[in-house]
Amino acid sequence: MLDMLAIGHKIAALRKRENLSQEALAARLYVTRQAVSNWEVAKSAPTIDNILELSSLFGVSFEEILGLGEKTLFDQKDLFKDHERAYVLKTFLEGGLKVPLREIYDQATGEERRRILKALKEGRLDAPISEIDDLLGDRGREFLSPRREKP
């Protein structure tokens, strides 16, 4: 999965390097200024054609704009800082982000916590549940408990 916020920051940095305003860049790509603004804050993603045009305009490869092959750095105090939240969560669930379960669970939203619990329940995430036991609540514990069989 790509980190669209990091890509947005990269586009903004390249734009500034070329001394272009969002409006000027938008005009070169035949998109609106709002579209460029949205890319830079990961509110929307540029199309594949947009990326290829940006690559040509800035004289860099599409791999560079997309951050392919680059190591992602996470702020341990704020795991989601400067990254798209979905990217951080997915990286954690797939084992690419090695932090204690409690750290990410503490910083996760309700929906993100639900995805973490689902991964724990399905055995896709190997982490000690005891780390978050006091944060689970009755519903969380019930969700994680094995299915009740009919007597």
């Binding site: 999965m1 790509l2 993603a45 594949i48 979905a86 009919k150």
Partner: protein, 205 residues
């Protein structure tokens, strides 16, 4: 003497209720005298409700009011029958009552029988997601990717790396021409992103 069967229900024992259930299960529309399955549901044993629900579903009669009284397993069988007979309303109503594994079993069994079943349905696929495992989500995605590309897009955040890999491979074989790759590329792994962009570059030249 004119007896009101509904008023008698609270006073019947398990065997008597079971006998009524059997009569209902055998009747074409699931009724017995003036009694409907809904009348019986609060008083009958869960086992009897299961029996009735599944028997009626087998005849194409979907008593969705029985869902709150039945087990997830029986509701799963009724949901499967509902899907097979393209009764999408009865199917959708079953979902909140199903355990994930029963919801999965129902969907996977029907997709195996007819992989196009959701492609022609009015079921809001996104509304099923909270009830499904990854396996069923993947199966659903590939069953609608060509017929309902907009709805398929909503499933993208829930797919796994290997699903995207399969999607890219199938696209390279010429499948999924109407799929919106602009929406999908942010979810791909690096190698697949490279393949997709390389193909796009090749097309541009």
């Amino acid at each position: 003497m004119n007896l009101n069967a509904k008023k008698m229900l609270p006073f019947l024992d398990g065997d008597e209720l079971h006998a009524i259930v059997l009569q209902m299960a055998e009747s074409p529309a699931g009724v017995y005298d003036d009694l409907s399955p809904q009348d019986l549901a609060p008083f009958a044993e869960e086992e009897d409700i299961d029996l009735l629900l599944v028997a009626l579903a087998g005849k194409g009669v979907f008593e969705t009011d029985l869902y709150p009284f039945a087990t997830s397993e029986a509701i799963g069988k009724a949901a499967q029958a509902a899907l097979s007979s393209k009764n999408f309303e009865a199917f959708s109503k079953a979902m909140p009552f199903l355990d994930e594994e029963d919801a999965d079993a129902a969907i996977l069994a029907v997709l195996k029988e007819n992989s196009e079943v959701f492609a022609s349905s009015n079921v809001k696929i996104g509304s099923l997601l909270p009830f499904l495992s990854e396996e069923a989500t993947t199966a659903l995605f590939f069953s609608i990717v060509d017929a309902k590309p907009e709805e398929a897009k909503a499933l993208l955040p829930h797919l796994e790396e290997e699903d995207f890999h399969r999607l890219v491979e199938e696209a390279e074989e010429g499948k999924h021409p109407s799929f919106d790759w602009d929406a999908a590329y942010p979810f791909l792994e690096e190698e697949d992103v490279k393949r997709l962009f390389a193909a796009a570059l090749k097309q541009k030249r």
